[in-house]
Symmetry: C2
Subunit: 350 residues, 2 copies
Amino acid sequence: MIRPLARSLPMLALGGSIGTPPEGIRAEVMVVSTFDELSERADEARGRIVLFDAPFTNYGRTVQYRMQGAIAAARAGAVASIIRSVTPYSQQTPHTGTMAYADDVRRIPHAAITVEDAEFIHRAIDRGERVELHLRMEAKTLPDTWSRNVVAELVGSEFPNEIVVLGGHIDSWDVGQGAMDDAGGVVVAWEAVRLMKELGLRPRRTVRVVGWTNEENGLRGGNGYRDQHMDEVDDHVLAMESDGGVFKPAGFGFTGSDAARAMVEDIATLLDRIEAGAMGPGGGGADIGPIMQLGVPGMGLRVDGTRYFWYHHTASDTIDKLDPHEVALSVATMAVMAYVVADMPERLPR
Amino acid sequence: MIRPLARSLPMLALGGSIGTPPEGIRAEVMVVSTFDELSERADEARGRIVLFDAPFTNYGRTVQYRMQGAIAAARAGAVASIIRSVTPYSQQTPHTGTMAYADDVRRIPHAAITVEDAEFIHRAIDRGERVELHLRMEAKTLPDTWSRNVVAELVGSEFPNEIVVLGGHIDSWDVGQGAMDDAGGVVVAWEAVRLMKELGLRPRRTVRVVGWTNEENGLRGGNGYRDQHMDEVDDHVLAMESDGGVFKPAGFGFTGSDAARAMVEDIATLLDRIEAGAMGPGGGGADIGPIMQLGVPGMGLRVDGTRYFWYHHTASDTIDKLDPHEVALSVATMAVMAYVVADMPERLPR
């Protein structure tokens, strides 16, 4: 016996999703915890809605179900796929984000439900019930339109052609306000440079703040920046990004040569007194990735990430989640590092 | 210029709310932070929707806006009232709950919006914008229907007419699953008694577990229990309740004579090794309140309440929020106290 769920589920269509037909798709749910489980039970998926109920381990691993879920489900013959939202914590909060389709399989609707509902459906099926969902989505992909990076700079006093660039991305998903992802990051970088100006500080090298556009849907801003500034990429001394939410800062991650690392570690000790002097490996950011691939040393602000994925790509990513004191600490952290690298007599080596 | 909000707000009608007309109510929002502010600016409220944006201090104080908000707003001539949900934390989570109307003022619609939206509207108005809301609610109060307390007991071996009663309430608001409020409390009490039975323990006095019905909407279960057991109220040795969510237990609050307190404090030391041996003042619970008023000593389970109001009366009050180990600790805490009081040679004095 199929017992229809007698309520509507909080749900978000995933980026790139096609709409369902106006009457929706009504089908029985098949639940799996992993891609491997879907492979093993692929013969059960035909005509069904596949639910990927993959508990959060880390973002990189868990987000695979959002990215690749529709492809895997379609290959098995499913009519639609839904995922448990990518988060370690939920208050009935669906999370959106980008996803992929493949050319050789049908583009089926793909959506995210809440952790609570994914577990609820999973429990029901585990105890032998059949769960049917009526899926209706009105998401559609609109044609591209123009948007622009926002750029401001404090021109260097001695080496104006040498650049320290810092920023975040000004776009966000169309839920909430994108306060953590990544308006806060842009404000922190912007405020760091604004404070230099207000204090009458003009470093030897140019400090440039950028609000990169369209990170979420294809890195268009970061790629565009690289293309437009190709002639000065070699003079980018350092690229810094804040895109992990604004919480209490711990320091940075850094990607560059050993010689450069020794110098930035030395500078970072200035931040020890606000407990932000750490300099870990593997630093960077989505928006500065394109110029880092051309050899620019990269640095990403590291913050206490405990709650970042609670808000990431949700309606609850709103300005109240930012703590003014933690924002101020993050500004100080970015400002000190950017200023010293821009102002020191020698150029940061590659 | 009025700028209409171009999106729908997550909202919950509050208990007792009447519906709005089918076409809804469209009016400008007036925001106040306190009842006092509404009194001072009462002349601005006529024809408006009053938003009470009162930040959470403690439940008792903040819930007054849910309870009394519609009365105060109607007295000032408002057409509807909305409140900031009663919670210290929000992920766009509206909270419902009971409310009051008064006979001498109009019964206007009353609803709860999220903390995020209350602050958003408040900020907009503070910077000079006018905010208009189109309020549509389909809430209605249905006629009463029958429900029943659920009662089970382990009859005492020596003084079967003397009773230790423990329990929680089996109803919840019609959002989420009521897992914290108060299914978890019922399960903890039930499990405490079930374990006694499984272990072959039969205390001298009767241990009775009760799932009280309809606590949320008028204490009908607790009042009914008192009325139906009036002839044995004097033989109720102790009444215990768990209605603060199931988290890590700290002990109990107790209301009774000094002589009884000395004894239960002594018993509670058995729980020190699981850090649940505290015995504070002012213990009790909504469901056992009616018999406590007739002289029965009362005890309420105390737990770490940090997150209780995150879930209270919301769609996110679901079973995943309970930690199995913390549930087990709470069961142990209730079981030890109930068993010793029921089994000790002397009767707990009044």
